[in-house]
């Protein structure tokens, strides 16, 4: 079990959904908070919990319930690890094409609840577009389901999307049905170093008009990316590198690599780096693990944020961040306008850095920012982590009150 700041009195490990329901009902009776626990990879994601309570581990709910491979769907219990899911799917040459960090520990339920972002979301989106059925236990201990086992379904409200990304605050997810995809025959990555930020924007604008179909468009900047096993060392004086991923049949991928090289050539990129198939997956893994990744050089845990802006505002925001804080490292889903930044900061200075430096920049860029990870002792409140409440705050609170009237599920951690 991971170390965590969660204020747990005890952690229980129910054997099935009914036992989860009983545990939540018991917590409701005694007014104890409930902290659902999957692989324990995102327990410190979110703001500081406000009440002591019971950890409900889903570790025993780890079965594959049904894998009708020819339907390209799979139904699994929430506690199954992403690695185990991948293994099961790989046997049928299938995959869940969402990048999820710490896959050996992370669970399917946790990935649905926390909905991480990864490089291949440019083509493959995030968990919201794969959950077609869900079973969960609400804050009163009542089990309910949404969706079904078909890939297209308009019957009733989309409870799958309601729970995806809700950080376990509306219900404890116990089972999900996923739509899965065939594995790609082959994959490749092409990259180039960026001499300046104007070039970066020009090349990203090219990616809008490209004849190719990238699965990932990543912009990497900062010390963390000075050298990379797949990409090699960054050119001296470069402000960053652009990394573009492709997948498909071998002739398709070859054609796309050649086409993009031609498009880049016209923009003055002479010698792009091509990453061969075998090194593509490890590179994506490094990109996926970036927010959790290794500690800072001095051993301390960094502040990691995710900033969302319109794609066209990305380069300007990256430039300002790099100018303002030259030591920060950024991994940017540039095609989506999602910037993930790591900042070395003393725990007691994290809140001020967010408030005084990062938040104003984000506001000016018309964007939004959330904290993905922070030094263990940084004392961050809800607004520091999630930002100001948006237009939907009233509706979100109304939904929260109806699914979890006693505010037992992950109290304090999410936006409410």
């Amino acid at each position: 079990m991971a170390t965590t700041n969660l204020p747990l009195i005890e952690t229980i490990t129910p054997a099935d959904a009914a036992a989860v329901a009983a545990a939540v009902a018991e917590a409701a009776r005694t007014d104890a908070a409930v902290y659902p626990i999957g692989g324990g990879t995102a327990l410190d994601y979110g703001a500081r919990p406000t009440r002591t309570g019971v950890g409900v581990s889903l570790a025993k709910l780890n079965r594959v319930v049904d894998h009708p491979a020819r339907d390209l769907t799979i139904t699994v219990e929430a506690g199954l690890t992403i690695a185990a899911l991948r293994k099961k799917l790989a046997a049928e040459r299938q995959r869940l094409p969402v990048d999820i960090p710490q896959a050996d520990r992370a669970t399917v339920g946790g990935a649905v609840a926390a909905s991480p972002s990864g490089p291949r979301r440019y083509r493959w989106s995030t968990m919201r577009d794969y959950v077609i059925g869900i079973h969960a236990v609400d804050g009163a201990g009542t089990e309910f389901s949404g969706g079904g086992r078909v890939v297209k379904n308009a019957a009733g409200y989309d409870l799958c999307r309601l729970l995806t990304g809700s950080l376990g605050t509306l219900a404890v997810i116990t089972q999900v049905t996923l739509m899965v995809k065939p594995m790609a025959d082959t994959a490749a990555v092409m990259a180039c170093d960026l001499g300046d930020f104007d070039t970066a924007e020009r090349l990203l604008a090219v990616m809008v008009r490209t004849d190719t179909l990238p699965v990932a468009i990543e912009l990497l900047a900062g010390p963390a990316w000075r050298d990379d096993p797949a990409l090699g060392p960054m050119t001296d004086g470069a402000v960053g590198r652009l990394v573009v991923g492709f997948e498909g049949s071998a002739p398709e991928v070859d054609w796309m690599l050649e086409s993009l090289a031609g498009e880049w050539h016209q923009c003055g990129v002479a010698n792009p780096i091509t990453v061969p198939s075998a090194q593509v997956e490890p590179l994506y893994r490094r990109l996926t693990e970036f927010p959790v990744g290794t500690p800072e050089p001095d051993g301390s845990a960094p502040l990691v944020v995710q900033i969302s802006v319109l794609p066209s505002a990305t380069v300007a925001a990256v430039r300002r961040l790099r100018e303002m804080m030259p030591e920060c490292s950024l991994e940017v889903h540039a095609g989506n306008g999602v910037i993930r930044g790591r900042f070395a900061v003393a725990p007691d200075a994290a809140a001020a850095m967010l408030r005084e430096r990062l938040r104003p920049l984000v506001t000016q860029a018309g964007g939004a920012m959330v904290v993905l990870a922070h030094p263990p002792d940084a004392d961050l409140d809800v607004r520091s982590v999630w930002g100001p409440p948006g237009d939907g705050a009233t509706v979100m609170r109304a939904i929260k009150e109806r699914f979890d009237p006693k505010n037992l599920l992950n109290p304090g951690r999410f936006v409410y």
Binding site: D71, N153, A155, G156, L159, S308, G337
Partner: protein, 463 residues
């Protein structure tokens, strides 16, 4: 609602919008007493034509105060009675809010008012190299707001997904008349309200503006018609193609009955004696398409495909798709009335469910013809009848019910893309447990505490 409240209602609506924006004479209301689902009819108390989100908000506030239902309506192409003013109320026509406000290629999005038609957005994007992926057969008439309300699909959803996969932001008026705006920037700080609003059928909010994702046009296509002796062969081939990990852009099945109607209408040269015709399209960069096509043809041949006809050029492709999309309309030549159903099953259950539909047709002495977005397991059986004959109507509804039940028995659902509306509401408790429906009611109450938005649709009220 009581009749007594109608008059102040009209007065207030006229004051808020101007008299020209409000219809209330009984003769003017007739056109709004049903939509594409014609079995049930009920006139509204008024029909209003707002020109802005602000006007929609004013309308909802008035209705809310007077306890009058609000029924949002786009083109009225709902096949499930989504726009039926079931207990009267005010039909809010979004059709005057039809601007394509912005096309922003750098950010790959377009901003569209809810009343713009799907095809008008397509026209606005023409020449940009981009399109809006959802392509329901109704796209010439149906609006973006309506597409959002029903989470519309279409033939190409097999590869490109349904409406919810292409909506980045929504502006909408909630049940209390307040305006909600979410997106277009993806913000993980909060619940996925866009995900919930898409497919809400006008019961959670009146969607007034949408930020849609733009999809690059495919560089190239291979489009073919594969003729099979039997429906079973066709569905087995389709199932094999999916199982092999090939994801065509579309796989559309038409059985013998619908082919006959299409032939009569368009004289495409489809064989009338074949069990099924499947239109298969693959798209993407030219490199690799031929190889993929060969794999598909091989699988079709394994299942005794009689003939494979290839669209030679863009014009032939266009004609083929037009004919597929007009197929349902062509049924009008065969029968005075018809119901088009919208069942969905796990893809491997397609052979079973189509066999059962054949048996149900025999059992009820009805003619049922089928089109299907087969790659998704989404079947559209079309039941032919004469609505002037009450006995036929009854038989048709019974057969309709039985085939939807069969979809449920196969592990499927009673609607994939048309929505629940009033038509499917009686199936919701067959598909979902009481606790599931209760969870949905909570969502509804959260958006619309007074319950004035499109009442009587989507979920049965608690008993």
């Amino acid at each position: 609602m009581t009749r007594a409240s109608v008059s102040p209602l009209i007065r207030e609506l006229r004051a808020a919008l101007g008299a020209a924006q409000v219809l209330s004479a009984p003769a003017d209301l007739v056109a709004y007493e049903c939509d594409g689902f014609t079995i049930e009819k009920h006139p509204p108390d008024a029909v209003v034509f707002p020109r802005s989100t602000d006007e929609v908000a004013r309308i909802v506030k008035i209705c809310n105060r007077l306890g009058v239902p609000v029924v949002p309506r786009g083109a009225g192409t709902s096949l499930a009675g989504g726009c039926l003013p079931i207990g009267g109320g005010v039909v809010v026509m979004l059709t005057r809010m039809k601007q394509v406000i912005e096309v922003n290629l750098r950010d790959r999005l377009a901003v569209v008012e809810a009343g713009a038609t799907n095809v008008a957005l397509g026209r606005a994007l023409s020449g940009t190299g981009y399109h809006f992926a959802p392509d329901p057969s109704s796209q010439k008439a149906s609006t973006i707001g309506g597409n959002v309300a029903t989470n519309a699909g279409g033939p190409h959803t097999l590869k490109y997904g349904v409406t919810v996969n292409h909506v980045l932001g929504i502006e909408a008026v909630l049940g209390d008349g307040s305006v909600l705006r979410v997106g277009p920037i993806d913000n993980p700080a909060g619940l996925d309200l866009i995900g919930v609003l898409v497919g809400n059928e006008g019961t959670l909010a009146v969607v007034t503006k949408v930020w849609v994702r733009l999809t690059p046009n495919p560089a190239d296509y291979r489009t073919m018609q594969v003729i099979f002796e039997t429906v079973d062969d066709a569905t087995n081939a389709i199932s094999d193609i999916i199982a092999q990990g090939i994801v065509p852009a579309a796989m559309e099945l038409m059985d013998r009955g619908i082919v006959a109607a299409v032939e009569e209408a368009f004289a495409m040269g489809f064989p009338l004696d074949a069990g099924a015709t499947v239109v298969i399209e693959i798209d993407g960069p030219s490199a690799g398409l031929d190889e993929q096509q060969q794999r598909i043809v091989k699988l079709c041949e394994k299942w005794n495909a009689r003939e494979v006809l290839y669209a030679a050029d863009a014009k032939e492709r266009e004609k083929l798709w037009q004919c597929r999309k007009m197929a349902v309309g062509a049924v009008g030549r065969l029968s005075p009335s018809y119901i088009i159903q919208d069942g969905v099953v796990p893809r491997t259950q397609l052979p079973r469910v189509l066999r059962r539909i054949g048996e149900i047709a025999v059992k009820y002495g009805l003619r049922i013809v089928n089109v299907a977005h087969a790659g998704d397991g989404n079947v559209h059986p079309i039941l032919l009848f004469d609505e002037r004959d009450p006995e036929q109507v009854e038989r048709t509804l019974a057969a309709s019910g039985e085939l939807l039940q069969e979809c449920i028995n196969c592990g499927g659902s009673v609607t994939a893309e048309h929505g629940v509306g009033v038509e499917k509401i009686r199936f919701m408790d067959k598909l979902f447990a009481p606790a599931d429906l209760e969870a949905m009611r909570r969502v509804r109450q959260s958006f619309d505490p007074s319950g004035c938005l499109n009442p009587g649709k989507l979920i049965p009220s608690a008993s």
